[in-house]
């Protein structure tokens, strides 16, 4: 027997996956706890979060990595935008963008491994930022895949500690140069039927 078409949000097919969401917020105290509180209150999973100032010192940029299906992510972006201090929410996942993360890793450096560690670091364009008789600290940047690969290669030597910043991301520039005469025209978001109510 075929039932009525599913109305529930989760039963609607899309698989959960990781999304990178870029959020511009007012640089005020308490904003971080508003964002973090939203995730805990609504039961969303936050995988990483990084915050920093932008060109405009009154505005901060948060880069969030959240996993969820399409409906969870839609709610996440809408709920984020509902916060009064949030200026703009942008899901970069399906846009052309660059993602980077910085990692500091302290690894055992026994004499028989020192060469190999340095070679590996070289391949990954990681820098050695601290050296002792028994350990190296490497600094590496890259996307998640690269950092994971580096960790796997260093694991046999014995990793003492890892510190990661969480992901930051930026959209790639436009492919063609905008014509000079035309001022960059942003369509009013309210005119776009796919988008529901982003402040423009």
């Amino acid at each position: 027997m075929s039932g009525p078409p599913a109305r529930t949000m989760t039963a609607n097919g899309s698989e959960p996956r990781k999304h990178t969401i870029s959020v511009l917020v007012e640089n005020k105290f308490g904003v971080l706890s508003r964002v973090a509180g939203l995730f805990s209150a609504r039961g969303y999973n936050i995988e990483s979060l990084s915050v920093g100032e932008t060109l405009d010192p009154t505005v901060s940029r948060m880069t969030l990595v959240v996993s969820g299906d399409e409906f969870v992510i839609e709610q996440v972006t809408k709920q984020l935008h509902k916060l009064i201090d949030v200026i703009k929410v942008n899901d970069l996942t399906d846009e052309s963008h660059v993602e980077r993360e910085l990692m500091l890793i302290r690894v055992n450096a026994e004499p028989q491994h020192r060469e190999e560690i340095l070679r590996t670091a070289d391949i990954f364009r990681a820098k050695v930022v601290d050296v002792t008789q028994v350990s190296f600290v490497l600094e590496a940047t890259g996307d998640e895949g690269k950092l994971e690969a580096l960790i796997e290669l260093l694991r046999p030597m014995g990793i003492q500690e890892i510190v990661r910043t969480g992901k930051v991301a930026i959209a790639r520039g436009p492919k063609t140069r905008p014509r000079k005469a035309e001022p960059a025209k942003r369509p009013r978001v309210s005119e776009d039927p796919r988008v529901v109510g982003f402040a423009d």
Partner: protein, 582 residues
């Protein structure tokens, strides 16, 4: 102009058009109370517990459409207020709450009566502020009022450290509030409105499903015009009662868990469902995958995050209900020019609904000896001709009031819908009465619910707020009893309130008038006496304690699984089956 912070607060309130503050003083807000001593043009109503200040502000806001204001001190006062803030949050009521805070240099020191006020209210408010500099007072209060009443309305909390209230600062009053991060969208998308109009005109079995958004955006006239133009039947949510007259031929009254049979059936069988200012709450939808399974769903709401949250929507329209409905009326008129009015095609639908109404009206069994609670509500409705302001607590009495009172006007029904706050009735009624001194304000309450804020009888007496309270007294927590009876196999636990206190004596102790009735024949004379008494009255109506609210959709059940009659074994088995872990 340099003024002490406390004075700035009062000046700002006056400029915002505030005329009444509900509050309770304490250490951290004493500077404001000192400034209030000789400040002209603000009435302060002293409540007996802080949550009551919040609820009274809610009542005031809902009755007038303006922002309600309350003022309490730091620490325990703020934590008491949280319930009212969350209540206003769930029901989208515009209030601004001021709390005192310990001086800025003591914040974080575990000082006397300190709590992390903004931390605590963060998730219970639309937005909150901690003022850290006196010159920010004006701009922050301006923004607080702006945020509370624009977009989807809600509560805003402003935390005021004591030293900020004492120190002099410049009064800065921006002419206009502009916020780059907050610009609600009011106009609906024209293309979507056209799409909605096309579906509505061509629908064979449409239903308008109307919520509290229509009331908060004052869109009742537009709604009525649209309904009459298209002849689409209208069902309202608990919050939407009064948005459309209950006795209008197109009204199919309330839907949902305790909605009418015909409303739930109509929604279930609809082919186009137009949700206006409603949010598909679980008490409305029942099991979501069985809610309106055949309908194309059009959803008009000011809050984008309400759309496709619980139910997937086919035609989303983000905007203010009033403006969208006005545009929709135009679009429907335009559409009718080419497609016809479609009324003929909907005759069978109206006939079907009339049939449902005839076979399963709201009903209860009459008894000559025991008062039936539904009868009390009916008589209140008759005696006031649907013109009174009706406030309720939470529980069975609330549902009976929603079912049996015949609403005529918007902003005349006050109930805690989203949060379901017991004890909401009396303090909210105070706020309504303060806003409308000449209107008949009736708080229909339960004996369990009334108890939670009964101390406010004192406020009613002292502040000359002649609120009338009818206690539907079934000597227990009736709604819990009903669930235990139907779903938990009559294993009654922790529900008895055996006639304590004596409400008549308690009313008299608080300076109010106390009345009691125990027989059906006494109900009307007692109600008449209550209505003609120019003082706060508590009318204790001892009703049948076994009476249940029907129809009832067991939590987690589909709306078509309504239970219509008192539980038999068969009904209980069915209820058990559809119980999915609530």
């Amino acid at each position: 102009m340099r003024l002490p912070g406390a004075r700035i607060v009062l000046e700002c309130l006056k400029r915002e058009g505030v005329d009444i503050i509900f509050g309770l003083p304490g250490g951290a807000v004493l500077p404001i109370y000192d400034a209030l001593y000789d400040f002209q043009g603000l009435r302060h109503i002293l409540v007996r517990q802080e949550a009551a200040a919040g609820h009274a502000a809610e009542g005031y806001a809902r009755a007038t459409g303006k922002v309600g204001v309350c003022l309490v001190t730091s620490g325990p006062a703020c934590t008491n207020l949280v319930t009212a803030l969350q209540d206003a949050m769930m029901d989208s009521i515009p209030i601004v709450a001021f709390t005192g805070q310990v001086p800025t240099h003591l914040i974080g020191n575990d000082a006397f009566q300190e709590a992390d006020n903004v931390g605590i209210t963060r998730s219970a408010t639309k937005h909150n502020f901690l003022v850290k500099d006196g010159k920010d007072l004006g701009p922050i209060i301006r923004e607080a009022f702006h945020i509370a009443q624009t977009g989807r309305p809600g509560p805003v909390h402003v935390d005021l450290p004591k030293d900020i209230l004492v120190k002099e600062a410049e009064l800065i009053w921006p002419d206009k509030v502009t916020m780059r991060s907050y610009n609600p969208n009011y106009e609906g998308h024209a293309g979507q409105i056209k799409r909605a109009a096309r579906s509505m005109v061509r629908a064979g079995k449409p239903v308008l499903y109307v919520g509290g958004g229509v009331i908060s955006s004052n869109a009742h006239a537009e709604l009525r015009e649209l309904a009459e133009l298209t002849e689409i039947p209208v069902t309202t949510t608990l919050m939407g009662l009064g948005a459309f007259p209950s006795e209008h031929p197109l009204s199919i009254e309330m839907l949902g868990m305790h909605g009418t049979y015909y409303a739930n059936m109509a929604v279930h069988h609809s082919d186009v469902l137009i949700a206006v200012g409603a949010r598909f709450d679980d008490r409305v939808t029942g099991r979501v995958d069985a809610f309106a399974p055949h309908a194309e769903i059009i959803h008009i709401d000011i809050d984008p995050s309400s759309i496709s949250k619980n139910i997937k929507v086919d035609v989303p329209i983000v905007g203010d209900c009033r403006r969208v409905l006005r545009a929709l009326v135009e679009a429907v008129r335009e559409e009718m020019k080419t497609a016809g009015d479609g009324r003929e095609g909907r005759r069978p639908w109206h006939a079907q609904i009339a049939e449902w109404k005839k076979t399963q009206p709201l009903r209860y069994d009459w008894d000559d000896d025991v008062i039936k609670p539904q009868y009390v509500i009916q008589e209140i409705s008759n005696l006031t001709r649907g013109e009174a302001m009706i406030v309720t607590g939470v529980g069975q009495h609330q549902m009976w009031a929603a079912q049996y009172y015949k609403f005529k006007h918007p902003r005349a029904w006050f109930t805690s819908g989203g949060l379901g706050t017991m004890g909401y009735g009396l303090p909210t009624a105070m706020g309504v009465q303060a806003a409308h001194p000449n209107k008949q304000v009736i708080n229909i309450d339960g004996d369990g619910s009334f108890q939670m804020n009964s101390q406010e009888m004192a406020t009613c007496f002292v502040e000359k707020l002649p609120v009338k309270t009818v206690i539907i007294n079934n000597s227990g927590h009736g709604m819990v009893r009903q669930w235990q009876r139907i779903i938990y196999k009559e294993r009654y636990c922790a529900i008895d309130l055996p006639g304590i206190p004596d409400w008549v004596k308690l009313a008299e102790a608080y300076g109010c008038v106390g009345l009691r009735v125990t027989k059906p024949s006494e109900v009307v004379p007692a109600l008449e006496k209550m209505l003609s008494t120019p003082a706060p009255v508590i009318l204790d109506v001892c009703v049948d304690k076994d009476e249940c609210v029907f129809p009832m959709v067991p939590a987690g059940g589909a709306n078509t699984d309504m239970i219509l009659t008192p539980p038999t074994r068969e009904v209980r088995d069915r209820a058990e089956k559809s119980q999915t872990g609530f």
